[in-house]
């Protein structure tokens, strides 16, 4: 590639030809890998130019990732703005403790990654490999917790979209059908509050838990309860008066007006707090949080739980996919590190992989409060 014919205007050959020539003749700068390193591509003049270009390319790519996730954040904002009560309720399905552990793991893995880049800069191959392995482990831990969380969703049938168990009227999925005795027996495992206040009890043989058509069911907190103290606000666009409802309900005993009759609820909620307020059994919460139960949702909102779950699965799913890709990058970097390809003169792939991992971490930092810490 060394085409160093001097040009007719007597200018020096374009920069970089010198470096190429040195390589051909076997000169170096004395450092061994510096003058014409194997990694210097033919269209770059100097390693510095190549490194700088690679960094610019990587930062540009990170910008595209930010734009892509940005779309999801916008969707989140719109959906949450349009369905605030749904978000207040549905996010209880997530355990913030797992989310916090995830956050800590990713932050720690970013730390180990940065340390790894530093190790590469200082020619510390062993340390670099160790740090890459730790970062990989962090990603693995993150995905493991994701698996635990998703499994919980699976168990609760909280899938995205039409498969979601709480989509009571959705497209052929008929959760209004009466459960068989066997299903009821199995349901002890499932702590979902299958509530649809419009359901009519079928045949009187049993009812779905807290099924009611009018008046109170087992729980006094159902949305369309008429003429009861506990009726939550009916106006759909009025801000949900959650706190005051909660205040009202503390100390109120649970009443089942059908107690002793054929329509008595067969399954009682597994968890109550002192005072007897029925809690949504997805995730027992104690203490002063505002509590929105499914039954407290204004009836149209009960069909809109997808507003939360769809965006939850899209955001965490896409993020999880990026974590997996990042883990693949770590493996590839580890393999290259074992081969001794990274040193103080050339550690670009480690640097770029680190940038990617930091972005994945940063995206999670935003996801965590938006999804887990809704108040």
């Amino acid at each position: 590639m060394a085409t160093t014919a001097s040009d007719t205007h007597g200018h020096d050959p374009s920069p970089g030809h010198d470096a190429h020539d040195h390589a051909k003749v076997g000169h170096g700068d004395g450092h061994g890998h510096e003058a014409h390193p194997a990694h210097l591509a033919h269209h770059f003049d100097t390693p510095e130019q190549q490194f700088g270009t690679s960094k610019l390319g990587m930062w540009t790519f990170l910008a595209t990732e930010v734009l892509m996730f940005g779309g999801l954040f916008v969707a989140y904002s719109v959906l949450r703005h349009n369905n605030p009560e749904v978000f207040l309720w549905a996010h209880k399905a997530l355990d913030w403790k797992w989310g916090a552990i995830d956050t800590a793991i990713l932050l720690a893995s970013s730390y180990t990654m940065a340390w790894g880049v530093r190790a590469a800069q200082l020619n510390q191959r062993g340390l670099l490999m160790f740090m890459l392995a730790l970062t990989f482990a962090g990603g693995l831990g993150f995905m493991g917790i994701k698996a635990i969380e998703y499994e919980a969703k699976w168990r609760h049938h909280l899938f995205p979209g039409k498969l979601n168990v709480l989509n009571v009227e959705y497209k052929g999925q008929n959760f209004k059908a009466p459960l068989t005795a066997e299903q009821i027996a199995n349901q002890k495992e499932h702590t979902i509050d299958y509530v649809d206040s419009h359901d009519k009890p079928a045949g009187g043989e049993h009812t779905m838990p807290a099924k009611q058509e009018s008046g109170n069911g087992e729980s006094s907190t159902h949305g369309d309860s008429s003429a009861e103290v506990h009726t939550p606000p009916v106006a759909h666009d009025a801000p949900p008066v959650i706190a005051s409802v909660h205040a009202e309900l503390i100390g109120t005993p649970v009443i089942d007006p059908h107690e002793g009759t054929a329509n008595a609820a067969k399954i009682k909620p597994p968890v109550t707090i002192p005072g007897g307020v029925k809690l949504d059994a997805l995730e027992p919460h104690q203490g002063g949080h505002a509590i929105v139960t499914y039954g407290m949702l204004h009836t149209p909102d009960q069909k809109k739980i997808n507003a939360f779950f769809s965006i939850y699965f899209m955001m965490t799913g896409l993020h999880g996919f990026h974590v997996l890709v990042g883990m693949g990058v770590m493996v590839w970097l580890f393999i290259r590190a074992t081969r001794g390809e990274f040193h103080s003169e050339y550690y670009t792939p480690v640097d770029l992989g680190g940038l990617y991992w930091h972005l994945v971490d940063l995206i999670w930092i935003f996801l965590f409060p938006l999804l887990y810490l809704i108040h």
């Binding site: 374009s14 610019l56 069909k303």
Partner: protein
């Protein structure tokens, strides 16, 4: 010379093709399929992109033929004929937008010309460049296969041999039709478009890095050719806007496959949200389409009129301004969607402001031409047609950007005519002109100028016949995407259809001219037109690493250092003038030895 006579008629001294150039550097198939040479990648794109254009064009002819009369044509069964028509216009739109216009100038000419214009050996990331190409091929296969086999599906009534189900939603995939009601292959088509988006992103990324980091000493930002400014601005948009399309299409796929409900109001979502997402990408996308064309026109106008560009800084910065402002106006596609009047007003106002940098360009081009030595060669003809047609297209955009008139014109043929004036009348003309302009550099041969001029005029006539009348039809109320219409509109459609056939005649003439030129054209000199951008400082075709002698960086529009070759073979440098220009430009800090 301002006559229509073609330039190169006799060559007293026969030219010799350079012995070694990038085309014969290595002739194996593998060296082409796995090439890292930006020039070859540009050619690979050229083949596939032109094939996409052919497909999109055929379906344009088909849909215009259906519209010849109000009654059904391609099937006796009305429902089937209208369904077929839906597939036709969707296919035409999707193929043209995603597979032709967005890649065309950046991927073909940007890849080929930009590094050479920078005096570089290649783009910043050659392997990424090749990856972009293969992503384009894969995405195109998904999309084209689904769309084309879908047409068969509609005709036959069931999918044919692993065929797809086509697409009948229009290229815009609007919800809720695309997510719930359409029984066409929305998933496959969306995946195809999703994949194609990554090709666009990676190309843009490559160009940004190249322009920032691979400029030679002495080429500061304001000494770059305007084609590079335009391509850089395009790359900015590609990198920032296309990811939003990616997530939009991903959400669409999730909505359709899993019914996640983001766009479904009954379960908490919002269908207009889809439109916001979609147009947030697709409006900047139209600037991806037109900005490179602007860059091409700057080069064509200056070279073929032997003139320094008038208002270089304004044209350069107006490209950036259009790129940035283009992100703020997406709502003007949604004036009738029910968004708030305040939002409508803001989008309308900013839309008006985009007219300013666009007009700045047009005025500067006209000022460049004023009093210059215009050579009405084929590329120049296309450039001049561009200026006129873009003016019409841009001005009618103002009709659509005005809230009061848009209420009547939205979703009518007025919109169709407007965007065809900017996409075909402007962008396609610039693209064809660009191919003619750089043809000698790319292939080392000259096309027949006379045939080219005839093709240009025929295309121009056919284009205007097709689309000028559609402004009237739209203002009279003819809606777009309708397969049938009241009899009173038939004359408009018939004129349009005849015009469409004339356009296709012009396209065939152009293709014929290129093929003949490629195999039997006279050998091209290094600088057939007398331009001063760096690609003309190297042989035609260029050597494998672009320059056998490092080019000197000067003002890219200093035409005067070139004068006609006494042997009749293009233009050669006048050494004294070149030295004088070089000395003058060294005062700007050329830098010296590295």
């Amino acid at each position: 010379m301002s006559s229509l006579a073609p330039d190169i008629q006799t060559m007293p001294t026969p030219l010799e093709r350079p012995k070694h150039h990038y085309l014969n550097h290595n002739k194996s198939i593998a060296s082409w399929l796995f090439t890292l040479d930006h020039k070859r990648i540009g050619l690979l794109y050229m083949v596939t992109v032109l094939a996409a254009f052919a497909i999109g064009g055929i379906f344009a002819i088909l849909l215009r033929t259906e519209l010849w009369a109000p009654g059904p044509l391609f099937s006796a069964d009305k429902t089937k004929a209208w369904n077929l028509y839906n597939h036709f216009f969707t296919l035409h739109g999707a193929v043209m937008v995603f597979m032709f216009i967005i890649p065309a100038v950046p991927a073909i000419l940007g890849n080929f010309v930009l590094p050479i214009m920078l005096g570089a050996k290649d783009v910043a990331f050659p392997r990424l460049n090749l990856l972009s190409f293969y992503i384009y091929v894969i995405g195109s296969c998904f999309l084209a296969y689904n769309l084309l086999s879908g047409v068969l599906y509609v005709i036959v009534g069931h999918p044919v041999l692993w065929g797809g189900y086509g697409l009948d939603t229009g290229w815009t995939f609007y919800t809720p039709y695309s997510t719930t009601a359409s029984d066409s292959g929305v998933l496959l088509a969306t995946l195809g478009a999703f994949i194609l988006g990554f090709s666009s992103i990676l190309t843009g990324l490559n160009f940004i890095a190249t322009v920032h980091m691979l400029r030679p000493k002495g080429m500061t930002w304001f000494r770059m050719p305007l084609f590079i400014w335009a391509t850089y601005a395009t790359a900015l948009i590609q990198v920032l806007a296309t990811p939003v399309l990616a997530i939009t299409l991903l959400l669409l796929v999730a909505e359709r496959a899993l019914r996640v409900g983001i766009f479904d109001p009954t379960i908490g979502g919002d269908p207009v949200l889809y439109q916001h997402f979609f147009w947030f990408y697709s409006h900047p996308a139209v600037y991806i389409m037109i900005l490179p064309a602007f860059g091409v026109i700057s080069e064509l106008i200056t070279t073929h009129s032997r003139r320094h560009i008038f208002g270089y800084h304004f044209i350069a910065l107006s490209s950036i301004a259009i790129a940035l402002l283009g992100f703020l106006v997406w709502g003007h596609h949604m004036f009738t969607s029910g968004q708030s009047p305040l939002a409508n007003a803001i989008f309308s106002l900013i839309t008006f402001s985009i007219a300013i940098p666009s007009a700045v360009k047009v005025f500067n081009w006209v000022a460049t031409l004023w009093g210059s030595s215009i050579h009405l060669r084929t590329p120049m003809l296309y450039a001049l047609f561009f200026i006129g047609l873009f003016t019409i297209g841009g001005l009618t955009g103002l009709h659509l950007g005005t809230l009061s008139t848009d209420i009547h014109l939205h979703d009518t043929y007025f919109v169709v005519a407007h965007f065809h004036y900017v996409m075909v009348g402007s962008m396609l003309f610039a693209f064809i002109g660009a191919i003619y302009h750089w043809f000698p550099k790319i292939f080392g041969r000259m096309c027949n100028d006379r045939v080219g001029q005839i093709g240009a005029v025929i295309t121009f006539v056919g284009f205007n016949m097709t689309f000028l009348i559609q402004f009237v039809a739209g203002a009279e109320g003819m809606p777009r995407r309708y397969a049938t219409y009241p009899d009173a509109f038939q004359i408009y459609h018939q004129i349009s259809t005849i015009g469409a056939y004339i356009i296709s005649l012009g396209m065939f003439i152009t293709l014929y001219n290129w093929v003949v030129g490629l195999f039997w054209g006279p050998i091209a000199p290094a600088n057939p037109w007398g331009g001063n951008t760096l690609e003309w400082h190297t042989a035609s075709p260029p050597p494998y690493d672009n320059f056998s002698v490092s080019p000197e960086v000067g003002d890219p529009y200093e035409m005067q250092i070139w004068e006609p070759d006494p042997n009749g073979n293009g233009w050669v440098k006048n050494p004294e003038k070149a030295a004088a220009a070089a000395a003058a430009s060294h005062g700007h800090g050329h830098g010296g030895a590295h």
